[in-house]
């Protein structure tokens, strides 16, 4: 029985592999995408292994040693409370990556669910899409700021606020795909065969949204990290007791002329993180959408 099951399972994996093969092929053709993937992996490792990377307590204040420029002891200098900027930047990777990945995942899942349902149910479509259009015409940073002004500053609230601004983009993408896919002959065939709506959505439509969704979620991840930094920088984001890259830069704002390293190092890491995700996303898009690959 097990042997039969294996035999049945084998073609199934083979039929999935073109996507995987195309990803591998594209990564080979796009050295920048590999660069992005490697950089991202290193950043994730840095975030996970933060305590082992010669860091000290990122919150430990030391008033005597405040605003020391970068040196052998303090690689990235110290801030106005004497905290070690290197340790804060390394620990800050945790916040940025957590926000990026959580928003990427949440917005994708929620947007996918709403998009699938609205794309398939005509009567719901008009209402939901008007709401999404409305949400999308509010500039995303402003909407996130307004939502943050409503609640108290916490990492969860930052993630929720940014997710709300990103969901409409996913809904629009998925709905567009569903509208095209539902006209496909195999969907007609499934309907004719008496397949239920839920099953059609899950078995015939959902698998075809995976590729564009994957690309979109990398971009959401990158944009969420930027938005988190902007919110923190403006004082409406992650609470100041958590060392996030945006917070470190916000604290360095007034000291820019005498201690530019407070902006420079977190800014550099944030840019590298966002750049690596964007490069990875571009590579994935080229791999998964051969038509776009030629033009973009």
């Amino acid at each position: 029985m097990a042997a039969i099951a294996d035999n049945v399972a084998a073609p199934a994996t083979a039929s999935q592999s073109p996507t995987w093969l195309r990803i591998k092929d594209a990564l080979r053709r796009h050295p920048t995408a590999i660069l992005g993937a490697v950089a991202l992996l290193l950043l994730i490792l840095m975030a996970v292994l933060a305590p082992l990377l010669f860091t000290v307590d990122p919150q430990a204040i030391s008033p005597i040693r405040r605003l020391r420029p970068p040196s052998e002891t303090y690689w990235f200098g110290t801030d106005m409370l004497g905290r070690d900027v290197y340790s804060r930047v390394v620990y800050g990777a945790r916040v940025s990556l957590a926000v990026g990945l959580s928003v990427g995942l949440l917005a994708t899942v929620i947007g996918l669910a709403i998009g699938l349902v609205t794309g398939f149910l005509r009567w719901l479509d008009g209402i939901v899409m008007r709401i999404m259009d409305g949400l999308m015409s509010i500039p995303s940073v402003l909407l996130a700021i307004a939502l943050m002004a409503l609640t108290k500053a916490s990492l969860e609230n930052v993630i929720i606020a940014i997710t709300i601004t990103e969901v409409p983009r996913v809904v629009r993408l998925i709905r567009g795909l569903v509208l095209t896919l539902r006209e496909q002959p195999y969907v007609d065939a499934a309907i004719a065969a008496g397949t239920g709506t839920t099953r059609i959505l899950l078995r015939h439509i959902l698998p075809n949204t995976v590729a564009p969704l994957l690309v979109q979620s990398t971009y959401i991840c990158a944009s969420a990290m930027l938005t988190e930094a902007i919110l923190s920088f403006l004082g409406a984001g992650t609470p100041p007791n958590i060392p996030s890259w945006g917070n470190i830069m916000a604290e360095g704002r007034s000291l820019f002329q005498i201690a530019n390293y407070l902006i420079f190092f977190p800014g550099l890491f944030l840019s590298i993180a966002v750049l690596s995700i964007n490069l990875l996303g571009d590579g994935l898009r080229d791999a998964l959408d051969p038509r776009l690959a030629r033009t973009m």
Binding site: G134, I138, P139, L142, A146, I230, N260, V274, R294, T295
Partner: protein
């Protein structure tokens, strides 16, 4: 055309209604009692109740939304909690710097990005193309405030060519005005340039593969003529579309840029309002910016026919 215009205008109504509902709900959901805040520390329960009735805060959501929305339609955005001044007046005082920054950025971005995209498409795969694409991906990745500080450090502190921060009104002279806007526009415009250049390149590549472009080349027309008159004109619609959509990025960026460069505009007003939780201002600004975004994209839609007379509404 008129029929389309009416239909298109009608289609924006639900969008505006949703925006208004969202913006109003923000105030409605605000934690704390505005009446208690306004009444102050020494107010009695009766005072608070009186203010609440005065402001109509004891009414249900539906009625309060209606009162608020009809006031907004009459141009009344409410009163700032902190300064007690009308929100419209506060916005009016600060509109010049923001408008100057936005217009400067828009002009600079479009006049740089479109040629960049055209050049990249023309030399597709060559070093110029690679450089434009590199710039584009980098432009998407560097946060606007990091870029702003880099520019300040390089051009204002190190080279001392331009002022570090601040804003000078246009009536005090063209150069003082412009010199304060160059660095902010560069910081704000980079992501916008990246977006437009990328879309221009993609649209141009699509058009350049058409038969009539080959014919134009075969007729022996100069490459510049083919690029500008035959190709760019036909690639205009997607480019104009992305210019409109990018206004959203521009608005988000204005808030940050004005903070970094200490420009006393609407973005700065917003940030100050957030820090003080001055909700009427936050509401008013979001409403204004969203309306601008919807309006710009409406104009973009209506401009399609100008760029491509084949489009029938």
């Amino acid at each position: 055309m008129l029929g389309y215009l009416i239909r298109r205008l009608l289609a924006t109504i639900p969008v505006i209604v949703v925006v208004a509902l969202v913006v109003f709900s923000l105030l409605y959901l605000t934690p704390g009692d505005p009446a208690a805040v306004i009444a102050g520390d020494i107010a009695t329960v009766a005072d608070i109740e009186r203010i609440r009735q005065q402001l109509g805060l004891d009414q249900p959501f539906r009625i309060r939304f209606w009162t608020w929305a009809s006031a907004v339609l009459r141009g009344d955005l409410g009163v700032s909690i902190f300064t007690n001044l009308p929100v419209t007046q506060l916005i009016g005082q600060r509109i010049e710097p923001t408008l100057s920054l936005a217009v400067c950025t828009l002009i600079m971005a479009v006049s740089l990005a479109v040629p960049m995209g055209v050049l990249a498409a023309w030399k597709a795969g060559k070093i110029v193309d690679r450089l434009v694409m590199l710039f584009s991906v980098a432009g998407f990745s560097i946060p606007v405030f990091v870029l702003a500080y880099l520019l300040i450090y390089l051009f204002a502190i190190d080279l001392d060519w331009l002022p570090v921060q601040g804003y000078t009104p246009l009536r005090e002279g063209f150069w003082p005005w412009l010199s304060h806007l160059i660095l902010p526009s560069m910081a704000l415009g980079t992501i916008y340039i990246a977006l437009i250049a990328r879309t221009t390149r993609a649209a141009m590549l699509e058009v350049l593969s058409q038969d009539y472009v080959r014919t134009a080349h075969a007729k022996g027309l100069a490459p510049a003529v083919v690029l500008m008159r035959h190709a760019l004109k036909n690639a205009a619609v997607p480019i104009v579309t992305i210019v409109g959509i990018g206004v959203g990025l521009l608005i988000s960026g204005v808030v940050v840029t004005e903070s970094v460069f200490a420009i006393p505009g609407i973005g700065r007003l917003t940030v100050d309002a957030i820090l003080r939780r001055d909700y009427p201002i936050i509401q008013g600004v979001i409403l204004l910016f969203s309306a601008v975004y919807v309006l710009v994209n409406l104009l973009v839609d209506l401009s399609y026919r100008f760029f491509d007379p084949r489009i029938q509404y």
